[in-house]
């Protein structure tokens, strides 16, 4: 298989930019696993995948894993899938919990960081620290339930932050972490993946 054959249906004249593209993905759940798969499919050259968690059955309603991956670290399960989808992508993994103390060091080599966590506090912490470090950040907030697809948007915020989602909290009657399902989570993941693609292609303006 030739690498160029994989991209025969991509837009013409973008491949070298994507091949030079590097993105770090923080969190490999419903958002991060699907974002990584999309970016690998189109040929983004280097992906850095960070998560400390293992695949469990409750992940399979929205995350890009299957039964054979249960119990595996998400970093390993996802890297093996990306290798099968597009072996020409350089994939680095780190199986570590991202904290306020290690984030700057972990992502030192990446100017583009994708926030794909589940907890609001962790999202805020990572976005703050990465923006303060001068990085471009693509984050997500709000993709619960089966609400209107068209409420999910990509908005520019705070200079170098692209924020995807509907911004709405999950209904209070649901337990924390309940109500997240493939269609809407993947819609939001696709917003993030397309924002990353546009940034890598130089189609987004930086102020």
């Amino acid at each position: 298989m030739l690498e160029q054959d994989l991209y025969a249906r991509n837009l013409p004249d973008i491949q070298s930019k994507l091949k030079c593209g590097k993105a770090a993905i923080a969190g490999l759940g419903g958002l991060g696993s699907n974002i990584a798969v999309m970016l690998a499919r189109i040929g983004v050259g280097s992906l850095f995948l960070v998560d400390f968690d293992r695949v469990e059955p409750s992940n399979l309603n929205r995350q890009h894993y299957n039964h054979s991956h249960l119990g595996q670290f998400k970093t390993d399960a996802l890297a093996s899938q990306l290798e099968l989808i597009n072996p020409f992508v350089s994939v680095r993994t780190c199986c570590e919990k991202i904290t306020a103390d290690n984030a700057a060091n972990l992502f030192a080599d990446y100017s583009l960081v994708c926030e794909a966590f589940d907890r609001a506090e962790f999202k805020a912490d990572l976005v703050c620290s990465m923006l303060a470090a001068g990085k471009t950040v693509v984050a997500a907030s709000g993709m619960n339930g089966v609400g209107d697809s068209n409420l999910i948007t990509t908005q520019r915020k705070l200079g170098k932050l692209w924020l995807c989602g509907d911004g709405l909290d999950s209904p209070p009657e649901l337990e924390a972490g309940v109500g997240f399902m493939a269609p809407r989570v993947m819609l939001c993941a696709a917003h993030q993946a397309n924002a990353i693609t546009r940034i890598l292609l130089g189609l987004e303006e930086f102020t």
Binding site: A124, S141, L158, G165, F180
Partner: protein, 64 residues
């Protein structure tokens, strides 16, 4: 002072933490920019804002 483009009358000075609480924001779930510069989380208690400052506040909700 402007918060997310909306004008608020204000005199004196107030820390970012107190301002967020006053306006009903959860300090643990926000990112704050003052005059185009990101305020680090650890500086919410010590950074003071005064009238005329422009703040942008982004709130995060859970899920992913």
């Amino acid at each position: 002072m402007f918060i997310n483009g909306e004008k608020f009358e204000f005199t004196g000075e107030i820390t970012i933490s107190d301002l967020l609480k006053t306006h009903g924001f959860d300090c643990t779930r926000v990112a704050v920019e003052r005059g185009g510069v990101i305020v680090r989380k650890g500086e919410f208690d010590s950074t003071k804002v005064v009238d005329g400052d422009k703040l942008e506040i982004v709130t995060f909700v859970g899920g992913g």
